[in-house]
Amino acid sequence: MHFILQGFYEAMRLLFSGDSATYEIALRSLEVSVAALLVSLVVGVPAGATIALTHFPGRRLLVAVVNTGMGVPPVVVGLIVALFLWRTGPLGSLHLMYTVQAMIIAQVLIALPIVAGLSLAALQQLDQGFRLQIMALGAGRWRTFLLLIREIRVPLMAAVMAAFGGVISEVGAVLMVGGNIVGQTQVLTTGIVTDVSMGLFASAVALAVVLMILSFSTNYAMTIIQQHGSKSRS
């Protein structure tokens, strides 16, 4: 019990003393996850919308692929990215292995199917008449897309929260492609793994508390935005 209490004490000390190493790891975690989330949103929402609103051969297969992608274990994603980025792999010449960029790529591949899949489902649930009404109002293709996205903003925020939760807490893929290099690619989750393996429970608990605070505060902010959106929905 002693080391658990000591862990919490240490966590508080690190947080309130402004320990630079702890904050650096926390910021890197946030940087990687937010970057991956933004890329996933920019690509995933239009992709989900395109699949939901158009008809083309192989559409069902694509929906099945997206849905499967939502459940692929992160460690498998990490392995695939590692195989591509390895110095003898197809993208080895880019020298991205064990970099923050490699970690962002892996997390994009984890978050993208979640964002695309949940956007697709939300748009499919929206009455098709809504789309016709927006078009009949005089909206072109782009404005129709934007207005439809506005209509699904509540479930879309749920997709953002699910994707963020998935990447901020992910450890397998970032460990594999980032290498957990202290001061360069170590993030909160991989830092916890390292500390526990070295018996540094106090430090591990401190990083876990920071991770939980980070996760809770971002989700709380997104929940407020989501609930505000749900109040204005018809």
């Binding site: 008449g129 009404q133 005089g138 506005r150 204005s232």
Partner: protein
Amino acid sequence: MTGPVILEGRKLSVVRGGHTLVRVERFALEQGEVRVLLGPNGAGKTTLMRALNGLEKADGEIVFEGRPVRSGGDRLRLRRRTSAVFQQAYLLATTVRGNVESGLRLRGVRGDELRRRADAALEMLAIQHLAGRRPTGLSGGEAQRVSIARALAVDPAVVFLDEPMASLDPPTRRSLLADLEAIFRRLSTAVLWVTHDTEEALAVADRVTFLAEGKVVQEGATTEVFNNPATQVVADYLGLDVWLEGRVEEAAGGSARFVLDDGASLICAETASGPAVACIHPDDVMLFLTKPDSRGTSLRNVLEATVRDVRAAGRSRLVTLDWQGHRIEALLTRAACEELAVTPAMTVFAAIKATAIQVLPRSGGSNDDA
């Protein structure tokens, strides 16, 4: 008051999944007219409307304001000069005012003009008091008024209405119908109103296009279509569901003899000889307890019949009669029904003017789909 043709479809057809949903040789909507697309469910009314306002791709040619509509850009231009109201209000997640302004904003209207035009539309539909409300909590009728205000705010050349009353309760429907009738009489906007409700059509339409199985079956002024249905399908849909099969003979001097297949006969207005069906609207049948003296009157048919059934039909009573084995119906007020003490099995005399008997060429087709 109507004007030149504003929207025209030529040789329009919509085929989906191998099925032809619409095949129309020509459909022309004139400026300022209220046209009702009437017909049974599945007749292709909504599909034709969507094809005409660029929401559904169709083969054939669409000409709007004298210009052909071919590309996606043409269809967008068409949608920006027109507006549409659907069965559901489909209000956006913003205030009522925001909804009414949305079509204007998409057309680039801003500032004072935006406010002025939105205010005018809100006032037209008598919903100024709802301007700050969100769609949540609006009644179905209020929501539909917002949707109509949004459509009219853009001052469209054509308003497309796709069964706008279908989800409303009867009192809300009556009130909105009365308001829309007055609004459309005042505006110069052409209206294409899709409905399967004959009362709605009678209330608002200048002209009616009757659609069945994707084809235009009849088109004309509202009274013309309702008084002179061109086919059995139309007549049946309009409530003329008593049919007598036979042939027209001895057409001369403004009248003709309609001889039923079993030899019984009726006098009808002069029409082409040959196989035909006759229908008699229940409104046009008068009942007498004793045989009326038809001399010196315009009554050409006095039929001795037996009452089979008496039942309520709205505020009236529908009396079903058996005349020589043929079914004939008469619509009576409740008071008249009580005064005559009409009861099943009693003998009555049904009097019908020759002009009240609608005679149509025998189509040979079934009217089951109507």
